[in-house]
């Protein structure tokens, strides 16, 4: 079976909107309904965060959502069950994003097998070194039709960008600045130079720009250079303040894309 991520990027080359949210936040059962609302609102792909006690690549917004989700009892097993439920109601690609340790304790092989069976299309594991991936997990993930996206940042050397491109499947996650996650108002000239450089590399895989995307301006700037954008922290803030998720999610997505 063809991977839904590969299919999406083959069909849509521009303006892809991928939205990140933390599993089990704001309440434990929201994982499923948020995904459904996002698809209805016109989002192309979702990334569901596996909560971890020590998320060092994340800023305060996502970190707090992790803590709340964990306090409510979120764990890998429950998440995979929720994803299976979500998959039955959803057409778009589902990516799971999380730190290595919870996945490792669950068992990487068991995790990948169950995730694939639940209808997950791709993984992002920010603290999995690419050499470890090649040595231990590449074969496994490929056999399960799970794509893997690695991160690159403005400080990633050119040669390494190309290495990451060669090892990625699906898409590349281009971090917009040297920073942890968090909303920003607009991109600087340096950031845009970096996006242009990525564009000029003509990489094998499409790249999505993430970190710091919070409004129409940053979204459209990201879309100008990459295949699209990933939105996380500002969506978590939206969920945190939301009284009516369906309506607020719709409005949030509209405010980005139009």
């Amino acid at each position: 079976m063809e991977n839904r991520i590969t299919k999406l990027f083959a069909r849509k080359k521009k303006n892809i909107l991928s939205v990140f949210y933390t599993a089990g936040f704001p309440t434990l059962q929201d994982t499923v309904s948020i995904g459904i609302h996002l698809e209805a609102a016109g989002v192309d792909m979702i990334e569901i965060g596996i909560p971890f006690s020590d998320p060092i690549a994340d800023g305060p917004t996502i970190q707090e959502s992790n803590k709340i989700a964990l306090n409510q009892g979120m764990n890998v097993e429950l998440l995979l069950n929720q994803v299976a439920e979500l998959r039955a109601k959803l057409k778009m690609p589902i990516v799971l994003m999380g730190y290595l340790n919870p996945v490792m304790q669950y068992g990487v092989e068991k995790f990948c097998t169950k995730a694939s069976a639940a209808g997950v299309d791709g993984l992002i594991l920010p603290d999995l070194p690419i050499d470890e991936y090649v040595k231990h997990y590449k074969e496994l993930m490929e056999s399960l039709n799970l794509s893997i996206s690695f991160l690159i940042s403005p400080t990633t050397p050119d040669a390494r960008i190309k290495k990451i491109d060669a090892l990625s499947s699906g898409f590349i996650y281009a971090v917009s600045s040297s920073s942890t996650t968090g909303a920003k108002k607009e991109f600087s000239k340096e950031q845009q130079d970096y996006f242009r450089k990525l564009q000029s590399f003509k990489l094998t895989h499409p790249f999505l720009i993430g970190f710091g995307i919070s409004n129409h301006k940053t979204y459209s700037q990201a879309c100008e250079y990459g295949a699209g954008a990933i939105v996380g922290s500002s969506f978590i803030t939206c969920l945190k303040e939301s009284k009516n998720q369906q309506e607020d999610i719709h409005q949030f997505v509209q405010s980005l894309i139009s």
């Binding site: 971890f52 006690s53 020590d54 998320p55 060092i56 690549a57 800023g59 305060p60 970190q63 707090e64 803590k67 964990l70 764990n75 890998v76 730190y99 290595l100 340790n101 919870p102 996945v103 490792m104 304790q105 669950y106 920010p126 603290d127 999995l128 070194p129 050499d131 470890e132 690695f150 991160l151 690159i152 940042s153 400080t155 990633t156 050397p157 390494r160 990451i164 971090v175 040297s178 920073s179 942890t180």
Partner: protein, 393 residues
Amino acid sequence: MNYNVDESGYYGQFGGAYIPEMLYPNIEELRENYLSIMAEPSFQAEFNDLLKNYVGRPTPLYFAKRLSERYYATIYLKREDLCHTGAHKINNTIGQILMAKKLGKEKIIAETGAGQHGVATATVCALMGMECIVYMGKLDMERQRPNVERMRILGTKVVPALSGNMTLKDATNEAMRHWINHPTDTHYIIGSVVGPHPYPDMVARFQSVISEEIKKQLQNEIGNPYPDYVVACVGGGSNAAGAFYHFLSDEHVNLIGVEAAGKGVDSGESAATTALGKAGVLHGSKTLLMQTADGQVIEPYSISAGLDYPGIGPMHAHLFETGRVQFINVTDDEAMNAGIELSRTEGIIPAIESAHAMAALKVMELTKDDVVVINLSGRGDKDLESYIRWGKY
């Protein structure tokens, strides 16, 4: 058996560099350069000069006569407590600030739990005229007020870590986040043999001056560089790494690491990582880690703020797994009693971390000919408040 780090940054199955890509260039820069910089004669000259004239090295290897009589053995104390700033931590911060300068960095960040590493970092930053930010858990800032003020007097900005449980683990998270946000001009001085490769190896090498001196001093004292035992406390494990380093391949020297059992290993309030931990990934390396079945990191507890870290350095995880180092643990009360005992037999009030190492004497089966070296990693001034609160003296 090889106990040192291999070419890919591992100690057996432990170690590595499990870091987000944003940190890769920093770690790679350090990995490519640390050994050659440390080998440079100009680096060596400045490092050794500062250790001698600023830190006050070599620290004495003191024959503890009354303690020896009490335990029917020959007991020496390696007096790291006499280092400038009161603990072994400064051996590493001197090394790393010189490393940072060689790498062309302008700013320094660090994490601290009890504040000893923070003070040692603030000290060398003042010495070198470098800007310094120390992350410290908000709760630790309240518990260790004097060290916060010491850092401030030294010109360092102390930033409270407000995430998680607001202790050492969270301060480390915040420091790593800061580094992700300031990757080019900043060096992160990690305070223990933890973190992504090459930190554990680099810190162990800077601390290895401890065992280098012990060997020389013992040779002078007893005509033989090899004790029967070397004992050190282990939180992250930097003083133990330094005290064990040059004895690792001398397999006839018994090495004992003492962890903090807190209120008891099974009490749920403990920091005895080798007893309670499983292999996992935290702060950039694979190591033994106290965690839930779901892989969430457990907040450790010890009366000693320097020992309540949920992991241990990957080198120690390997030394534990191979059996090269015997790990034991002692409770708060056992450590405090040992601290009082040392105060009254030798006139030395130890840091509560080091009091844990002293408490090993009670469970070691010693004979009269045994030569024991205990690494007295720090002095007790900073812990006066804890001694007073404990109160049983």
